[in-house]
């Protein structure tokens, strides 16, 4: 039963993943991506990573994809504009994708029996629950966890800075104006 569920969810995830890239309408692609996320969440749960599974639904399927859709709605990306009509570009992209796929499949197949012999593969009884995950985050992965807050702060500053319509001009006294008069005028024009 568990195996059957795995294959069903895997099939759903792959199909929906294909629809993400094959759909010509970006909104529909986004909806397909939600399906991928949900299927992944169920697969995580099968791997007894229940906390990760819930967070996957809450953060990715729930919040991130809503933001995606929000942006798509506002931009109202047309079906035509979203796609390059050049065939060779698609061919190259397809080739690279196929290559990555082959590598991934090979990696899974080559895994063989070696992986099971490695240490750290035993799953404890409460593996994936909130408590052990939190404990790991605050002990073994304390540093990356704290560093993430800096990363997020930088991301916020960057987002604010790039989306701000314009920043106030510097008023230079005339004797500091660079170059000739016409250059000074182009300079002030640049900020607008």
């Amino acid at each position: 039963m568990e195996t059957a569920l795995f294959f069903i969810m895997a099939a759903i995830a792959i199909t929906a993943g294909g629809m993400v890239i094959l759909n010509k309408n970006p909104v529909k692609s986004a909806f397909s991506l939600i399906v991928v996320m949900l299927a992944l969440a169920i697969l995580y749960m099968q791997l007894s990573a229940t906390f990760l599974s819930m967070i996957q639904i809450m953060v990715y399927a729930g919040a991130v994809m809503v933001l995606f859709l929000f942006v798509l709605f506002i931009l109202n990306v047309g079906v035509e504009g979203a796609f390059s009509s050049r065939m060779y570009k698609r061919a190259v992209a397809g080739l690279v994708g196929a290559l990555m796929g082959v590598v991934l499949i090979a990696a899974v197949l080559m895994r063989g029996s070696r992986m099971q012999q490695l240490p750290g593969m035993d799953v404890a009884g409460d593996f994936g629950h909130i408590k052990p995950v939190g404990e790991l985050l605050f002990t073994k992965y304390l540093l990356p966890f704290e560093l993430l807050s800096i990363l997020l702060l930088v991301a916020i500053i960057g987002a604010m800075l790039t989306t701000r319509p314009k920043w106030p001009k510097l008023k230079l006294p005339p004797e500091l104006w660079p170059g000739t008069a016409d250059e000074a005028s182009t300079e002030t024009g640049e900020e607008n």
Binding site: A107, G120, Y141, L143, I157, M160, K166, P168, E190, N192
Partner: protein
């Protein structure tokens, strides 16, 4: 279990710089736009970080349960980052007088990106490394896009952002593969695993290593992952370009040295051949494309790609167990490259007034008669970049190619030397333009800026001084590299 969990002393330099970033960000809120106190505060904070870093030279500490390792290697890189950042701020202040104001957040983005770089330089864990790299990259994306309203600039910034995000995906994918085969992300444990399994490296580890190489190759702009570099370099405000070419590249190489020069430095990996190809292509494409460029920022972009190629020749096949020369060469080269590149961009900032118009080869004609000091400084930087003694650039190339010869890659070294000759052509073309051609168009005067004059003078002096007495820097580089293992 909680042994060595956290340690304030191990992160002290990074904390000082982080505090600087936060203080500067808050100060900017309360002062009038354009107040000079903000950049000076940034410099003061960075300087404090530098002092703390240097005072920790010689200490070695592994903290955060193995995710962080501070030692001579990290501190060596800290110094590169902080000095490059301080010089960038000096140049930015003089750039402001010519091209208009930077937004207040700019001054805090520089220390923020330095924090990211410091994390990269002392990370002993793949996840930590990637978070540091992302922090740095996010700052860089934003800073590249600061030339608002210029379509070409937005295009360059967007290209940089998209390809950078793509590269990050490669890095994460590679990390996942490595974790999948080793069940750890700690460098020390991976090193042990690799040396224990050196006759049968798992396929997943091979794939992961290659993906990491692709990702880092994107970040340092090695051919064939260099497409973004010329556009982004040209798009960014010139001080930012200088910062990207030096500090960000150095941070990328801190990661490369740690991962490919040490952790995965075994000939059992297919990787070594790939790095060989990357080095070769970077040297050839970078140098020959640079010849075609009339825009000096683009030219320096391609030349930086070529320099990545030179740096990679020292990484190829360098086995730290046999010889320290490869890693030492890279560390030495990074300092030399930082000094001369910052100098070259500094000159471009001074002559490039108004719009980004005066940045082509033609604009340099007759510079010697208008401003002999500036022309002399530019000559020193160009000579150093082409690797002619008695400049620092000569020794950089010497050590790097020497390392390649020593590890048996003589062919690569020969190609490196041949392509350097191509480099001589386009670097000296600038000098020829400055000295031997009369000014074609009336030269628009620019305002002298004492800060950048002094900075340029110091840089030029450093290029010459270390070019004559390279030994002490070389010793520093060697002990820094030695501290890694």
């Amino acid at each position: 279990m909680f042994e060595g969990l956290y340690s304030w002393s191990a992160v002290a330099p990074a904390l000082v710089v982080l505090a600087t970033a936060l203080v500067v960000m808050m100060t900017d809120l309360f002062v009038e736009p354009g107040n000079r106190i903000v950049p000076w505060l940034t410099i003061a904070g960075l300087f404090a970080g530098l002092v703390v870093s240097i005072s920790m030279w010689g200490t070695e500490e592994v903290a955060f349960s193995g995710a962080w390792k501070i030692g001579a290697f990290s501190i060596y890189f800290y110094c590169i980052f902080i000095v490059a950042a301080i010089i960038t701020i000096f140049f930015s202040m003089s750039h402001e007088e010519r091209r208009g104001r930077f937004p207040g957040e700019y001054w805090s983005l520089i220390p923020f990106s330095v924090v990211g770089m410091m994390v990269m330089a002392s990370a002993a864990d793949l996840i930590t490394l990637i978070i540091g790299l992302e922090t740095m990259s996010l700052c860089a994306y934003v800073m590249v896009g600061l030339n608002r309203g210029d379509k070409r600039s937005s295009e360059g910034a967007l290209k940089y952002f998209l390809l950078g995000a793509f590269a990050s995906a490669f890095l994460l994918y590679g990390t996942a593969f490595i974790y999948g085969s080793v069940i750890t992300t700690r460098f020390a444990e991976i090193t042990v695993f690799v040396s224990a399994h050196s006759n049968a490296i798992p396929f997943n580890l091979q794939v992961g290593a290659i993906l990491l190489l692709v990702g880092l190759g994107f970040k340092v702009a090695a051919v064939p992952f260099h497409m973004w570099a010329p556009d982004a370099y040209q798009a960014a405000p010139t001080p930012v370009t200088g910062f990207m070419a030096t500090a960000i590249k150095a941070a990328g190489f801190a990661a490369i040295v740690k991962i490919f020069g040490l952790m995965l430095a075994t000939s059992a990996l297919v990787l070594q051949d790939l790095i060989w190809w990357l080095a070769l292509l970077s040297m050839i494409v970078g140098n020959f494309a640079a010849v075609m460029q009339m825009n000096l920022k683009r030219m320096l972009a391609y030349s930086s790609i070529a320099h990545v190629g030179y740096l990679l020749t020292a990484i190829v096949g360098s086995d730290p167990g046999v010889s320290l020369q490869g890693g030492t060469g890279v560390l030495f080269y990074l300092v030399s490259y930082a000094l001369m590149t910052l100098g070259a961009f500094g000159v471009l900032i001074i002559i490039g007034g108004g719009e980004d118009r005066r940045e082509t080869l033609v604009d340099m004609t007759g510079l010697a008669s208008k401003s002999p000091g500036l022309a002399l400084a530019m000559t020193i930087f160009m000579v150093s970049m082409s690797g002619i003694p008695p400049t620092i650039g000569f020794f950089g190339k010497f050590y790097v190619f020497g390392a390649a010869v020593q590890s048996g890659y003589t062919g690569l070294a020969v190609i490196g030397i041949l392509t350097s000759v191509v480099g001589v052509f386009y670097y000296l073309r600038v000098v020829v333009n400055m000295y031997m051609k009369p000014a074609e168009k009336s030269f628009v005067p620019w305002r002298r800026s004492r800060i950048s004059d002094i900075t340029l003078g110091v840089l030029a002096a450093a290029v010459l001084y270390i070019g004559i007495f390279p030994q002490s820097l070389l010793d520093l580089a060697r002990s820094a590299f030695k501290s890694l293992f």
